[in-house]
C-alpha cells in the first residue's frame, strides 16, 4: 500500500496526466495584465549590478528571472543553470506605445472605425452581411484576409452614423511612429470657415487640418470597440492588446551577461542594453509627468520611449536610423536566426568531419574511419548475455586504447566516465541492462554526408571500418552520389545512437538501397574513372593471359577468400591462352554457386556497325554471365545509364548482386591498373606530321571560306537566312565554318592517334575527357565564345588593338587556331581568358541562384506524400494528385526509357537465355497471342488489380511484334506460318525454332516476370514524394550551364534556357524574357499561306505601308493626307484597305479622333482632319498627329515582335515571338487547337488551368532536355499539380507558398519571419503541427515516410458517437 503523501494546503493540486504531445499552437496577443500575471518580478531599476557585481533586485538581471551562470541558482525555482529555463519579468510603461509589428494592422483598424465612438464605419445591413461572411466556418484564412481587405476599402471616412463624429482620413505620420487624422478632404463646413478666416491673415503659413492620434488616444478608442466589430476586422482578440503597455522582460538565460575584465565590468546582451535604455527613459518620463515638466518635453520623452520600444522589437525598422543592437525580430529572422538556424536545423553530437580519400579495397557500403575518430564517436550498447564478455574487455581498455569504451551507464541512470575510475572494477560490475558507450567498431552503422546535400543520396548509410591514419575513406564508386572528389574535400559522419535509428538508417539510407536515383531511375553508384579505363583495357580483343597471369588476375577479384572456377581457355592450341573477356566473365560469376545469369546488350561509344560483329568491338553482349563480345566502357559500367551492367544486375537480381559485383570490379581494376600502369605524357599530345598537314589545310580552307563570306557581306551579296539581317547571317555562317574546322580537326586527330594513346583511351571508354578535349590539346583549341557569340568588341569596333578596325576575320574575333601543345599567341591567349572568365563568373552566380531555387522548391513541396489510398496529399490532407504520376509507379524503379516501368526487350532476352528452349516445342504465333490474352484477363492485370492500361498495351504490343517477327521468319524459311510442327520433324523447323521460337514455358515465365515486376514497382505509401520531386528538379539545376540555345531550325530565334528559364517557370513569372507561340497552320505544307498568316500576325505600322503622310495646309481646312503604297501591301500579302486603316487610327488609344474626322478617298487615300480647336493650336495638332500616325498599327498584333516561318521536313509552322495567345489563335489560317505558348500565365488566362499545368510540365521538360538532363515526368507533374491545384497558377515564391500552406511556423521559417508571426497573432492563427517544417521545429516525428504509421490501441468499448455539438461545459 502506498503511503499517502502529506500535502501542504498551499501547494496547488496538479493532476498527473502522463506524457503529453503538442497538438497545436495558437498565436495570440498578451495584454498588459497577462504579462504582469506571467512575470515573477517587476523590473524597474535601471542599474544591473551593485558594487560587488551582484545583480540588483528589480534590475534587469534579477536572480528571480533565472540563473545567470553556472555558479548561482534561480531564486524562483531554485534550479541550476541547466534545469531552470528562466522566468519572465515585466516592465510597466508609464505611457502606452505602439508595437511596430502591429503598426499596419492598427492603421487598418483605425481606418475602419469611427474615431469618435469606436464603432465600425459601416451601415447596419452591410455590417451584418459582412459579419455573416466572416463567421462562415468554411472560410479559410486567405478568404478571411481578402474579406477584411474588402471591408477596409468599404469603410470610407465619413460622418459616423451612430455618433455623428466627422471622421478624417487616417494616415501614417511622415516621420515618427504615430497616426494623423487628416480632415482636409472631408467636407466639413467648419473647415471651410476656418480656412476663409485664416486666409485674411498675412501669414502665409500653410495650415493642416489634421489631428494626431497618439497611442493613448488609440488605446482608449480600441477599448471602446465592440467585440462584434473586432470579429468583422478578423481580429482574434481585443485590439487594445496590440498596443504596448507592459513589456515582458525575457529570462536572463536568453540574454546572458558576461563578466569581463577580471570581474570589474560586464558585457551585456543587446536585449539587456535596450531594455536598460527603456527603463531609463521610462523613469525620466515618469518624473517629467509627475514633476509637471513642460508638455513638449514630455512629448519628446514619450517619442523617445516609443523609438526605444521599436528598437527592442525590431531594430531594423525604418524609423530607427542605424541601430547597433539586435532586436527580438533580428533574433528570429534570417539564415542564422532562431527559426532557420536553431529550430529547423539543430546541432548534434556524435559527428565527425575530416578530409576524404579513396580506397578501392573497401566495399561500396563501407567507410573507413580513422581510429582517432572512432575513439570519440561511441555507440551505447546494452549489455546482454551475448556481448557481456566483449563489453567487459572494452571497458577494461577504457577511453584511450582503441577497441574500448568511454562511459558506462547504470540502470539507475548514473553515468561513469571510464577515464576517472578503476576500469577493472567497472568491468566486473557490468551486468545485463547496463549500457556501455563503446568505441565505434567494424560493421557499425554510420551516416555519411557531403555538402551541398542536394539530393537524398548526399547522405547515405555506410558500415564503419576502423582504420589507421587520418582520413575518411570510401570506394570511388560512391563518389557520384556525393559528388565528391579527393582534391581536399571534407565529409561529415554521424553515428545513430539507437537500434531503431540504425535499422531505419540501414534500410532507408543504406548505399545498397540507394544505388538508383529517384530523379530518373538511372544508376548512380557505379564505376568511375580508373575502373572504366582498366575494364576497357582488360576486355580488349587482343588481351591474352597465360595460365599464371590469368590465375593472378582471378585472385585480384576477391580477397583470396572465395572459390573461383577457372574457365576453359579460349585458345587451347598452340598454347593455352585466356582472354580478358573471360576474366570479366569470371568477375561476374566467379563460381558455379553464384547463381547470377546476366543478360545484357549495350552499345558502347565506339560501336560502329553490324551488331556483335562490330569491327571495333563496341557491341557489348553478355549471355548468361559470359561476355560474348564488346569492349566495356562507360555505357556498360558507368553511371547515368538504365540498361548498364549494374542496373541489370540490380533489377534482375538484387542490390547485393550489383554491389558485390561493383566491389569485385573495384578491386580487380585498381590492382590491375596498378600493375599495368596508366599515365599521360607530352608524347601523348604531340601531333604527327600528317595531322599537322591536314590541320593546316583545314584551317586554311576555313579561313578562305570566311574571307569569302566577309567580302560578300561587305559587298552586300550575302543571301539572308530567315529572320536574320546581314550581320547576323554573316556571324552564323562564320561560326558554322569555324566550328566545322575544329570538329574536322578533332576527327582527324582521333583517327590519327595510336590506340595506346592514354587520352584517347580515356575518352573512348568514357572515364574522362571528350574528343573535343583531346583535339584542343593536340590539334586546335577552336572558337572562344563570350555570351554565346564570338569575342565582343572591347575597343572601338574591334576586339583588341592588334587588329584593324571592324575586322571580322576568325583570328580577330577569338578563333584560336593553335593547340594547347603548340601554345597560344598573345591575342589567342587573351580571347581564351575571356571565355574562361565567363565560365567562372557563371558558376559563381549559378550556385547562389540554384541554391535559393532548391530551397524554395523544397519548402513548397516538402509535405507532399503518398497516402494509403495512393493519393498525393499535403500535410493537412488536401489532395494534390489522385494517383501519383498518373500510374502510381516509383520513379526510382523505372527500367525503361522515359519513365516506362519495364524494359521488355531486355527482359525478354533474359528469359529466353535463362530458360532455354531445349526439347520443348515452340508455340505458333496464334498460340502466343492466345496465351497473352488469357493472362491479361486475370485479376492482377486489371485496373482494379492495380495495372495501368498503358502497361497492358505495352506488353501486348511487344508480344504482337514478336509474333509477327516469328511468322516472318517462318515465311522466309518457307514453313507454314501458323502451324508449328514438332521441332525435330524437319531441318528448317528446328532452325526456325532456334532463331526465334518461344515455348509455352518461356512465354509463361516472361509474362509472370513482367507482371510480378510491374507490381513490385508501385510506390509505397508514405513516400515523401514531394521532397524527392523538389530534389530531382533542384539538383540538376546546379549542373546547368547558363546559356541560351538556338531554337530548333530557326537560327536567329533564341529562347531563354537554363537556370533563368527554370526560375521563370517555377516563379510563375508574369513577364518572361522570351515568350514564343508555336502556331500550327491550317495548310501546313504551303509556304505562300504561311507567309500570309505571318504578315497578318506581325504588326505593320502605317509608316511602313504608306507612300506618303503629308500635311496639307489649305485655307479652308488643313488636313493630313495619307497615301497607301498598294504595291508594297500586295507584295507583303497584307490585307489592308483604307477602311481598315481608318478603323486602326480610330482605335489607337493616343489619337482621339471621331469617324467624321477621317475621310476615306478611294482605295488608297485618306484625309485626316484635326479636331476642332482654336487656330493657334492647329499647327501643333497637325504636327503631333503627323508624328503619331506612322506608328499606328494597321495590321497585326501589337504584342507580337515578329513571326518566323519554320520548316521541318516540308511542314511549315510559325514561331511567333511575343504574347497574346488569344489573338494568335484567333487569326485566320492558324490551327488554334494545336497552337502552343511557352508562357504559363498566358496559357492559364487563355486556355485554363489544366492547359497551364501541361504547359508547366512541357516547359520544364523541354528546358531540361535541352541541357541533356532526363528527369522523370512524374516529378514535373507533381510540381505542376502543386502549382495549379488551387485553381490558379501559384509560383514557388513567398507569395505562392503562403497561399498554398496555412501553417504559420512553416511560413515563418521560410521568409518574412516577423511579418508572418505578427499577422498570425493578430488573426489568432492556430497551427496544427502537421507539416514537415512545423514538426521539425517542435521536435515531433513528422507524418511522412515511416511516420505515416501509428500504433493504436484497441479500446474495449467504442465511445458513443453523438451528432450534436459538444456541450460547453463538460
Amino acid at each position: 500500500m502506498m503511503q499517502e503523501k502529506l500535502r501542504c494546503t498551499k501547494e496547488p493540486y496538479i493532476e498527473d496526466v502522463g506524457p503529453r504531445k503538442i497538438k497545436s499552437i495558437r498565436f495570440s496577443t498578451f495584454s498588459g495584465e497577462d504579462i504582469r500575471k506571467l512575470a515573477e518580478v517587476q523590473v524597474w531599476n535601471n542599474r544591473i549590478y551593485d558594487l560587488n557585481l551582484k545583480p540588483i533586485e528589480n534590475g534587469l538581471l534579477d536572480p528571480r528571472m533565472g540563473a545567470p551562470n553556472r555558479q548561482t541558482e534561480c531564486a524562483t525555482c531554485h534550479g541550476n543553470f541547466t534545469d531552470c529555463p528562466g522566468h519572465f519579468g515585466y516592465l510597466k510603461l508609464i505611457l502606452p506605445v505602439f508595437n511596430v509589428g502591429y503598426f499596419n494592422s492598427i492603421l487598418n483598424i483605425l481606418k475602419c472605425i469611427c474615431k469618435g465612438c469606436g464603432r465600425i464605419l459601416l451601415d447596419e445591413t452591410l455590417r451584418k452581411t459582412y459579419l455573416k461572411k466572416m463567421r462562415n466556418p468554411k472560410a479559410d484564412i486567405l478568404q478571411k484576409n481578402a474579406l477584411m481587405k474588402i471591408i477596409r476599402d468599404k469603410c470610407k471616412p465619413c460622418r459616423c452614423l451612430r455618433c455623428g463624429y466627422a471622421n478624417g482620413v487616417v494616415k501614417k505620420a511622415r516621420s515618427g511612429l504615430y497616426f494623423i487624422q487628416d480632415f482636409s478632404k472631408t467636407a466639413d463646413p467648419s473647415v471651410e470657415e476656418f480656412r476663409s478666416a485664416l486666409s485674411h491673415t498675412k501669414d502665409k503659413t500653410s495650415f493642416q487640418v489634421s489631428h494626431v492620434l497618439s497611442a493613448v488616444a488609440v488605446l482608449s478608442l480600441f477599448r471602446k470597440m465592440l467585440d462584434e466589430d473586432c470579429e468583422l476586422l478578423n481580429l482574434y482578440d481585443r485590439p487594445e492588446k496590440l498596443i504596448v503597455t507592459h513589456i515582458a522582460v525575457p529570462p536572463v538565460s536568453i540574454r546572458p551577461s558576461v563578466i569581463v575584465d577580471s570581474g570589474r565590468s560586464s558585457n551585456e546582451d543587446n536585449i539587456t542594453s535596450i531594455l536598460k535604455n527603456i527603463i531609463n527613459t521610462n523613469s525620466i518620463l515618469r518624473e517629467d509627468l509627475e514633476g509637471a515638466a513642460p508638455p513638449f518635453k514630455c512629448l519628446d520623452c514619450w517619442t523617445h520611449l516609443q523609438i526605444q520600444v521599436v528598437e527592442y522589437i525590431n531594430s531594423e525598422a525604418p524609423c530607427i536610423p542605424d541601430s547597433k543592437h539586435r532586436g527580438l525580430v533580428q533574433r528570429l529572422k534570417g539564415k542564422q536566426g532562431r527559426f532557420r538556424g536553431n529550430l529547423s536545423g539543430k546541432r548534434v553530437e556524435f559527428t565527425g568531419r575530416t578530409v576524404i580519400s579513396p580506397d578501392p579495397n573497401l566495399k561500396i557500403t563501407e567507410v573507413a574511419i580513422p581510429i582517432l575518430m572512432a575513439r570519440v564517436l561511441t555507440y551505447p550498447e546494452r549489455v546482454s548475455n551475448y556481448n557481456i564478455e566483449k563489453l567487459r574487455q572494452l571497458v577494461r581498455n577504457g577511453p584511450s586504447k582503441y577497441p574500448g569504451a568511454n562511459f558506462v551507464l547504470r540502470p539507475d541512470g548514473s553515468k561513469v566516465h571510464l577515464k576517472y575510475v578503476d576500469k577493472r572494477d567497472i568491468a566486473n560490475e557490468l551486468k545485463y541492462g547496463y549500457v556501455v558507450e563503446r568505441h565505434l567498431e567494424d560493421g557499425d552503422i554510420v551516416l555519411f554526408n557531403r555538402q551541398p546535400s542536394l539530393h537524398r543520396m548526399s547522405i547515405m548509410c555506410h558500415r564503419a571500418r576502423i582504420m589507421p591514419w587520418r582520413t575518411l575513406r570510401f570506394n570511388e564508386s560512391v563518389c557520384n552520389p556525393y559528388n565528391a572528389d579527393f582534391d581536399g574535400d571534407e565529409m561529415n559522419l554521424h553515428v545513430p545512437q539507437t537500434e531503431e535509428a540504425r535499422t531505419e538508417a540501414l534500410m532507408l539510407m543504406g548505399v545498397q538501397n540507394n544505388l538508383c536515383t529517384p530523379k530518373n531511375g538511372e544508376i548512380l553508384v557505379a564505376s568511375t574513372q580508373d575502373f572504366l579505363t582498366s575494364s576497357f583495357l582488360v576486355t580488349r580483343k587482343d588481351t591474352f593471359y597465360d595460365r599464371a597471369s590469368f590465375s593472378l588476375m582471378c585472385s585480384y577479384i576477391g580477397d583470396a577468400m572465395d572459390p573461383i572456377d577457372l574457365p576453359t581457355p579460349a585458345l587451347i592450341k598452340p598454347i593455352e591462352l585466356w582472354t580478358g573477356k573471360q576474366l570479366f566473365s569470371v568477375l561476374i560469376r566467379p563460381n558455379a554457386n553464384t547463381r547470377v545469369f546476366l543478360n545484357l546488350i549495350v552499345k558502347e561509344k565506339i560501336y560502329s556497325k553490324s551488331e556483335t560483329m562490330c569491327p571495333s568491338d563496341g557491341y557489348v553482349y553478355f549471355r548468361n554471365s559470359e561476355l560474348m563480345c564488346g569492349q566495356l566502357g562507360k555505357a556498360t559500367l558507368g553511371n547515368g545509364n538504365k540498361d548498364g551492367l549494374f542496373s541489370v544486375l540490380l533489377r534482375d537480381y538484387n542490390p547485393h548482386a550489383a554491389a558485390s559485383c561493383m566491389n569485385r570490379l573495384a578491386k580487380l581494376s585498381a590492382r590491375w591498373i596498378g600493375n599495368h600502369g596508366f599515365s599521360i605524357g607530352i608524347d601523348d599530345v604531340q601531333p604527327g606530321e600528317n595531322l599537322n598537314q591536314q590541320k593546316r589545310k583545314k584551317i586554311n580552307e576555313g579561313y578562305r571560306e570566311c574571307h569569302e563570306l566577309i567580302s560578300s557581306y561587305s559587298k552586300g551579296q550575302l543571301t539572308l537566312q530567315s529572320g536574320c539581317n546581314a550581320a547576323q547571317t554573316l556571324e552564323l555562317k562564320i561560326t558554322g565554318v569555324l566550328n566545322q574546322i575544329r570538329s574536322t580537326a578533332g576527327n582527324v586527330c582521333m583517327n590519327e592517334l595510336h590506340w595506346r594513346n592514354s587520352p584517347l583511351i580515356m575518352s573512348q571508354c568514357g572515364s574522362k575527357g571528350s574528343p573535343i578535349n583531346i583535339s584542343q590539346m593536340v590539334a586546335c583549341v577552336g572558337q572562344q565564345s563570350v555570351g554565346g557569340r564570338r569575342a565582343p568588341n572591347g575597343f572601338i569596333d574591334r576586339t583588341l588593338p592588334h587588329f584593324p578596325i571592324s575586322s571580322k576575320t576568325p583570328a580577330a574575333k577569338g578563333f584560336v587556331a593553335n593547340s594547347f601543345y603548340t601554345g597560344l599567341t598573345p591575342t589567342e591567349f587573351f580571347f581564351h581568358t575571356m571565355g574562361g572568365r565567363e565560365g567562372l563568373v557563371d558558376t559563381a552566380v549559378k550556385t547562389a541562384e540554384t541554391g535559393y531555387m532548391s530551397r524554395r522548391l523544397m519548402k513548397g513541396l516538402e509535405d507532399l506524400s503518398i497516402y494509403y489510398d495512393q493519393t498525393v496529399r499535403t500535410a493537412n490532407g488536401s489532395i494534390v494528385q489522385f494517383v501519383y504520376g498518373d500510374d502510381g509507379m516509383d520513379p526510382a524503379k523505372m527500367e525503361g526509357k522515359d519513365g516506362i516501368p519495364l524494359n521488355l526487350d531486355q527482359l525478354f532476352m533474359k528469359v529466353m537465355a535463362t530458360c532455354p528452349l531445349r526439347e520443348q516445342d515452340t508455340l505458333s504465333p496464334a498460340e502466343i497471342l492466345h496465351t497473352l490474352d488469357d493472362r491479361l484477363s486475370k485479376y492482377d492485370t486489371t485496373p482494379e488489380g492495380g495495372c495501368s492500361a498503358a502497361f497492358k498495351k505495352m506488353l501486348s504490343d511487344f508480344l504482337h511484334k514478336h509474333a509477327a517477327a516469328f511468322s516472318n521468319i517462318r515465311r522466309a524459311l518457307q514453313l507454314d506460318e501458323n502451324h508449328v510442327q514438332k521441332k525435330d520433324s524437319s531441318v528448317l523447323e528446328s532452325v526456325a525454332a532456334n532463331i526465334s521460337g518461344i515455348s509455352a514455358k518461356q512465354l509463361q515465365v516472361f509474362l509472370e516476370t513482367c507482371i510480378f515486376r510491374y507490381h513490385s514497382k508501385k510506390i509505397e505509401a508514405g513516400a515523401a514524394i514531394g521532397a524527392i520531386g523538389a530534389q530531382s528538379i533542384g539538383e540538376p539545376g546546379t549542373q546547368m550551364t547558363l546559356k541560351t540555345f538556338h531554337f530548333a531550325g530557326v537560327a536567329s530565334m533564341n529562347v531563354t534556357l537554363g537556370v533563368p528559364r527554370i526560375k521563370e517557370i517555377i516563379n510563375a513569372a508574369k513577364n518572361i524574357s522570351t515568350p514564343i507561340i508555336t502556331a500550327t497552320l491550317v495548310s501546313d505544307r504551303d509556304v505562300i499561306s504561311a507567309r500570309m498568316v505571318k504578315s497578318s500576325l506581325e504588326k505593320t505600322v502605317l509608316g511602313e505601308v504608306a507612300k506618303a503622310i503629308k500635311i496639307v495646309l489649305k485655307s479652308s481646312q488643313p488636313y493630313i493626307a495619307v497615301k497607301l503604297d498598294m504595291e508594297r501591301i500586295e507584295a507583303l500579302h497584307i490585307r489592308i484597305s483604307s477602311q481598315s486603316v481608318q478603323q486602326a487610327i480610330l482605335n489607337h488609344p493616343k489619337i482621339k479622333l471621331k469617324p467624321e474626322h477621317i475621310r476615306v478617298l478611294g482605295n488608297n487615300n485618306l484625309k485626316i482632319y484635326p479636331p476642332e480647336a482654336d487656330r493657334s493650336k492647329l499647327q501643333f495638332e497637325l504636327h503631333s498627329l503627323k508624328a503619331v500616325l506612322p506608328k499606328v498599327i494597321v495590321k497585326g498584333i501589337a504584342t507580337v515582335e515578329r513571326a518566323v516561318i519554320n520548316n521541318t521536313n516540308g511542314v511549315y509552322n510559325l514561331l511567333v515571338e511575343g504574347t497574346n495567345l488569344l489573338a494568335v489563335i484567333g487569326t485566320p489560317g492558324i490551327n488554334g487547337s494545336k497552337t502552343k505558348s511557352n508562357h504559363v500565365i498566358e496559357v492559364q488566362q487563355t486556355l485554363g488551368i489544366e492547359a497551364a499545368r501541361q504547359c508547366i510540365i512541357n516547359e520544364i521538360q523541354y528546358t531540361m532536355r535541352n541541357h541533356g538532363m532526363s528527369i522523370d515526368a512524374r516529378h514535373m507533374m507533381l510540381l505542376a499539380d502543386l502549382m495549379t491545384y488551387r485553381g490558379e497558377v501559384l509560383g514557388i515564391t513567398r507569395f505562392g507558398i503562403s497561399k498554398m500552406k496555412d501553417s504559420v511556423l512553416m511560413l515563418a521559417s521560410f521568409e518574412k519571419t516577423a511579418e508572418h508571426l505578427f499577422n498570425a497573432s493578430y488573426n489568432g492563427r492556430n497551427d496544427q503541427i502537421e507539416g514537415v517544417s512545423e514538426c521539425i521545429i517542435m521536435g515531433i516525428p513528422m507524418q511522412l515516410g515511416t511516420g505515416i504509421l501509428k500504433v493504436r490501441q484497441r479500446v474495449e468499448q467504442l465511445p458513443e458517437l453523438t451528432y450534436r455539438p459538444d456541450p460547453i461545459i463538460c
Binding site: L571, L577, P615
Partner: protein, 145 residues
C-alpha cells in the same frame, strides 16, 4: 567416335575487312569449298599467323574427347589424347546467336559463336545448321592444308 558438328576446307579470302584494329587479333574472311559457307573469324595471329590464300580445314566439335563424352564445361588439364592433337589451332567457345538472312533469293542462316571474345560468324545454307543449338559449347579446330 566423336560426332563433328561441321567440317570443311576454307580458303582465306581477306584479312581485316574493316581495317586493322587490334595488334594480336586479325579478323579473317574465308569461304568453304564443300558447303559454300562464308565465315568471318577472329584469329590470334600472333600465335597462329595466316595469310590471304591460305587453305585450312576447320572443324567444329562439341567436345575434344575422342570417345564423344560430352564436355563438362570445366577445363581439365593434362596431356590427354584428344581431337586437338591432329590440329594446329584450337579454340573453345559458345554459340550465342542463330539468325537468318533473307536478302538473296535463298535464305541463309548465320551462326554466331564467341571464343572468349574472338568471334565467328558462319553463314550458309540452313541445312548445315541443323546440328547447332543455342548456348552450345563449341571447339573450333583448324589445320592448314
Amino acid at each position: 567416335m566423336v560426332e563433328l558438328l561441321f567440317e570443311d576446307i576454307f580458303t582465306l579470302t581477306r584479312l581485316d575487312p574493316d581495317g586493322k584494329k587490334f595488334d594480336k587479333v586479325t579478323r579473317i574472311e574465308a569461304r568453304s569449298e564443300q558447303f559454300d559457307m562464308s565465315m568471318q573469324l577472329d584469329v590470334n595471329t600472333e600465335v597462329y599467323p595466316l595469310h590471304v590464300g591460305d587453305k585450312f580445314t576447320m572443324v567444329l566439335a562439341p567436345t575434344l574427347s575422342l570417345d564423344g563424352t560430352p564436355d563438362s564445361g570445366y577445363y581439365t588439364q593434362g596431356q590427354r589424347k584428344s581431337l586437338a592433337d591432329k590440329f594446329e589451332y584450337v579454340m573453345h567457345g559458345k554459340l550465342y546467336k542463330i539468325s537468318e538472312e533473307s536478302s538473296g533469293p535463298n535464305v541463309k542462316v548465320e551462326l554466331y559463336a564467341s571464343f572468349g571474345g574472338l568471334l565467328m560468324m558462319l553463314k550458309g545454307d540452313p541445312s548445315n545448321a541443323t546440328n547447332f543449338e543455342l548456348d552450345q559449347r563449341l571447339f573450333l579446330l583448324m589445320r592448314k592444308v
